[in-house]
Assembly symmetry: C4
Homo-oligomer: 209 residues x 4
């Protein structure tokens, strides 16, 4: 992992913290360092995201072992990052906990295929490969789980069932999105947060007051 | 194009990005460099607006050709800027994608004359030439389109049909406004964003939940 | 007027602009420089408030004449500042245009005694002289008017009719509050903005959707 | 009290002020300096929280006497901080006045056991000792009172009746939360503010419009 990459991950933390998208110690961010073998640079667990330094970024291999001799714990959600990096070939994965993404993740009844549908917005064109506002983006909602192995399995299945999805929501938990690069993944976060707030304010959720 | 002008366009990008009005890579900004022949300084396409540098601003002629040898693409919406600069004699054109302008742009059913009417607010006096809060501002809503030639034509017609309008909305897309100078155009963005939020929170949209 | 005072007025402008309380060129701020004769330092008209410099503050006498030879126009609302400084003995007067104060100013039907009542909030204790959350603050709403002489007269009458009020609202226009010092007036703005948002979100306005 | 501790308390003030959680002169923050005898570093009363300096932090003993010879008054709410430090063994206590915590504190009818229940959110895992989103956090609401001795007594009873609570709300007043360290207490504030806004926006309060 280069120091530049670690600094970029830390800078994303500061920007998202300023917008209130990773309050508490929520959220985690990763970038692929190498493909073969798969290695991810990922934020250590339980750290506030507004004051991340490059030394708070750990390198992690695909077997769940931290590379090197850091005392910090990797994020418990590392397995989800690995799952996404593998199945989507993503170069970067970002997980945020905003108010609006949490609200939207809880707006529809639990079901195997619960999802948020977003259609007709120009802002959708900022998602990788989307060329028209007429695009229909279906963002699956995955039930939350503290068993990370089980959750990673469920996420893997969901990604396969929705090959065109640019993101998924964990119920009452937050957003996962990704991209070829950190810049693309950050752009996806901004676009989806914008759309969640717009959808939430105009359409609301069926279960909301 | 002077370096000062490019720096001012970049600074507007940072301010609007901080307020969440140009998330993702949305929005674009232009200023007239010369009238005869018409030349516009305009933000290059697909760039995040919070980190614009002066070198991200391109000069563009009225035939759609970038002046000089930049590798960056001009914004696809350059034709709309040209249309506004011509028909309104504007010195600067600013396009933003805020949550509230997107919401308002979608609050009324599609129709040739769909519009948002704003009346009775002191803030209206900040619009160029308006001298009383009793002014009635009619902001036309133009249906969105990926065909830029067709959209530019539709925008031109709308501008002619609403000679007093200080702005228009693209449906589910965002706001275009302009001014004699960049400072005036930026003031118009702030005023309209304020009014959209106020109108949206008190009156809502007919189609909103 | 000391340079320190002008710098303090400019700094208030930057803070309020950052919170979105003086967008466009809205809002104006004053501080009493001397009592006999009455002289006010006040922000020049039609300036953006986020980039005020000390040189943008004018000194104004009680007859409506700018002291010195500035080319800038004093704020058209100077008469209201004079009225408040006289009748309340205020040392500073601040006028803001936030979304929530504009919304609240328009929530009740026009009437000679239209007002917003706020009661039972601990935050009220930050208003000068208030010692318990059980205080009932009645904030009169004054109809807006472009005739400043007539509006100043109406404001004067309202201040006399509500001797305990710490502020008033101009309908669809914004908030005026004041204090012994600039620090006290700024505290009053923050407290009232907090209360307007809280009241607006929980009770709404009778005429709101 | 070390200068480092005072600087950390001041820095928390700036961060909370930026988010609008301690407007006016609201809010106060403390950290335990020694256990035996109990001594607290606490913010002086009636100061704006965005410009706190280390010299604005007072040291206070358990009998209500300021240590040293400061002219500043300790916060009137010092007794509540002492109560919490004693009964919870907290190392730091933070009190904020956000719009959403004020709204939630007023959403349920007064009753000896009024409370806000929050359950099922991943963000709950950031509260000390909570290991699953299935945790049910019950945040008691204590009626506000200007008699600090009586209020401290009521708070003490409430803390004993709710041994698992990480926080309480004072009605129409704000939030008190705490932690082993200042960092933990600040994390708790961020988490609870996030949850209050999420709950408030999706479920609302029974008495809200």
């Amino acid at each position: 992992m280069t120091k530049k990459l670690a600094s970029e991950l830390a800078a994303i933390g500061r920007r998202f913290y300023a917008r209130g998208w990773v309050l508490g110690t929520s959220g985690n961010f990763s970038a692929v360092v190498s493909r073969k073998p798969l290695r991810l640079a990922i934020t250590a667990s339980s750290l506030p995201k507004g004051t991340l330094r490059a030394s708070d970024i750990l390198e992690y291999d695909e077997h769940g072992t931290v590379v090197g001799t850091s005392k910090d714990r990797p994020s418990a959600e590392t397995l989800l990052h690995v799952e996404i990096a593998r199945r989507r070939g993503a170069g970067a994965v970002l997980h945020t906990h905003s108010v609006w993404s949490t609200m939207l993740s809880d707006a529809w009844a639990p079901a195997p295929d619960a999802s948020v549908a977003i259609e007709g917005y120009e802002m959708l064109k900022g998602l990788s490969g989307v060329t028209s506002h007429e695009h229909r983006e279906l963002i699956p909602i995955v039930d939350n789980d503290q068993n990370m192995t089980r959750l990673a399995h469920r996420v893997g299945e969901t990604l396969d069932r929705h090959p065109g999805a640019h993101a998924f929501l964990l119920r009452r938990h937050g957003l996962y999105t990704w991209g070829e690069s950190l810049a693309e993944a950050e752009r996806h976060v901004e676009i989806l947060e914008f759309l969640f707030e717009t959808i939430g304010r105009t359409q609301g959720g069926p279960s909301w007051r």
